[in-house]
Amino acid sequence: MVEKRRFGNLVPHLILLVGVSIVAFPVYLAFVASTHDAATIANGQMQPVPGPHFLENYYRTIFVGTSSSTREPVGTMMLNSFVMAMGIALGKILISIISAYAVVYFRFPFRMTAFWIIFVTLMLPVEVRIYPTYKIVADLGLIDTYAGLTMPLVASATGTLLFRQFFMTIPDELLEASKIDGAGAFRFFKDTVLPLSITTIAALFVIQFIYGWNQYLWPLLITTKDNMQTIVIGIKKMIVTQDALTEWQLAMATAVLAMLPPVVVVVLMQRLFVKGLVETEK
């Protein structure tokens, strides 16, 4: 910046290029593998350039499935993942925006108690209470249902805190003007709070969609039927570590398909993604 560099900006470019390559290489390789046939990969003959079996492999992956452990086509799994991710993201947004609205804009007994009850859950990832949660979901008869997949992951303090923080920045005068203009709790929410929250909602959506899509341990426990599996656990079942029978070309096609939606979301909505990430951590 200040002084002239002898080699221009060569060093930073080089370092960044190496970084980008290391980050991209595993994915590139997965894509390459998804375009070769099983034999080429199994023999260890695969070269790091795409092969000729792209359409065939992806067709089989999406519509037919592997011939080993899990026989469900990946199309079904993607649908399940999509339903779960949308359910978690939208569910979270819905329940946290209304709870934040209550906490910020109303005064009532036990307001702070309610806030703290929600707040404390910030510290309890699902992994540490996995079996008791499993038992409750089982008792409620929600094993192998979308409700069972999403509901336990829908509650979290993150959304409520994020919306609370945003609502605090809305000037008091807007509520006062709305009151004078004859808007009640519902109209103020619908006509003013909601339109102003659009970016916050979108940012939270991006983060939560990724969070939901990438869930692993919970769907692993809660789904027993193959047709309820999500793609992230489906792929694990395709890979039999000790077994030469793993159909790697299909597994890698599945990996690519599993990465595609969340990565596309991040790249296309980078600004919202960064906003969501930075603000949910505050």
């Binding site: 005068e173 006062e176 003007a177 009151k179 004078i180 203009d181 004859g182 808007a183 006509d191 339109p195």
Partner: protein, 355 residues
């Protein structure tokens, strides 16, 4: 249209702060009442109680014949203009103005008629489709006014509507508000801490201090006969000089070794009583003969007038004179004042000691 009547209105906030300590006020139908006072004196609180945005701790607020203590803001038939305008940022100018009418179920063509009419009056017709963020401060101010007038309310409430504008625009908008209020004849309550606004806009000036009303009156009466030392120094610019004086006998006070005649001194003030004597900078006159001798420390040139600064018996003193009336390198002034323009205040309570 309606009158607004406050009866012993009080406000104690949840934290125990007593913001308004018993205010009674009678604003006639079509009147323009300005609440003025220093920051934190409770003007906004009082206004917000009229609006229904704060609960009334004690006393009553009536708009027209109706006591509105327990009436929702929307049902009080008032409109309010906020300091930061409080325009809905995501709605167009048109929708900002139409929102209150829509919520009341006013028919669409009636809304359209009223919005267009208000836009015409305020000369904002060309911005109707814009969002507030695409407007200048002055334009936003007009939209906020527009939002108030489309409602055709009984009462306009203004909370420092001009303080976010630059000096020039403020003068211009002040004039417009006055003209508009005259034309519409809507009872108005206006909060400001700018005494020029207060003087020019009001036909009923209310000076507040620490939650109490210090004085109510026509602006000129308040200026000419301030009820207390506080009002005397608050209204008028530059502020009234307050210097110590000693009662010498009936109608006479000694200030800085000079005897001043006082026209409206309260009867029965014992000789030797120490008082605060108020002398407006613009009322002091330079005399050739005897008078109060003021050593000049420095002079401020304001263009049309000059301000001579000095100290009399330890008190700051300012004399205002038209430019050129006194040569600016004068080292000492000898001052006299019309007996009718001398104000006397109690040293301890600050109350007026005139008749």
């Amino acid at each position: 249209m309606a009158e607004v009547v406050l009866k012993d209105v009080r406000k104690t906030y949840a934290g125990g702060v007593e913001a308004v300590k018993g205010v009674s006020l009678d604003i006639p139908d079509g009147g323009f009442c300005v609440l003025v006072g220093p920051s934190g004196c409770g003007k906004s609180t009082l206004l917000r109680m009229i609006a229904g945005l704060e609960t009334i701790t004690a006393g009553s607020v009536a708009i027209g014949p109706r006591v509105v203590n327990d009436v929702e803001p929307a049902d009080r038939d008032i409109a309010m203009v906020f300091q930061n305008y409080a325009l809905y940022p995501h709605m167009s100018v048109y929708d900002n103005m139409a929102y209150g009418l829509k919520n009341r179920g006013t028919p669409k063509d009636e809304i359209d008629k009223r919005v267009k009419e208000a836009a015409r009056i305020l000369a904002i017709e060309s911005f109707l489709a814009r969002k507030p963020r695409a407007l200048s401060g002055g334009q936003r101010q007009r939209v906020a006014m527009g939002r108030a007038i489309v409602r055709k309310p009984q009462v306009f409430l203004f909370d420092e509507p001009l303080s976010n504008l630059d000096a020039k625009l403020r003068v211009q908008m002040r004039v417009e508000i006055k003209r508009l209020q005259r034309a519409l004849g809507v009872t108005s309550v206006y909060v400001t801490h700018d005494q020029v606004e207060a003087m020019t806009l009001s036909d009923k000036l209310v000076v507040m201090n620490a939650g109490n009303v210090e004085q109510v009156g026509l602006p000129n009466d308040v200026y000419k006969r301030p009820a207390s030392r506080f009002v005397a120094t608050f209204i008028g610019s530059p502020p009234m000089n307050i210097v110590p004086g000693i009662v010498e006998g009936d109608g006479r006070v000694a200030v800085g070794g000079h005897m001043l005649a006082v026209a409206d001194m309260a009867p029965g003030l014992a000789p030797g009583t120490v008082l605060d004597v108020g002398l407006r900078p613009e009322d002091l006159e330079v005399s050739g003969g005897p008078g109060i001798r003021l050593p000049v420390d420095f002079v401020e040139e304001l263009g049309a007038t000059q301000l001579f600064h000095g100290k009399l018996d330890g008190a700051e003193m300012v004399v205002q004179a038209p430019t050129g009336a006194i040569t600016s390198d004068t080292r000492q002034l000898t001052l006299t004042i019309d007996a009718a323009k001398v104000h006397l205040f109690d040293r301890d309570t600050g109350a007026r000691r005139g008749r």
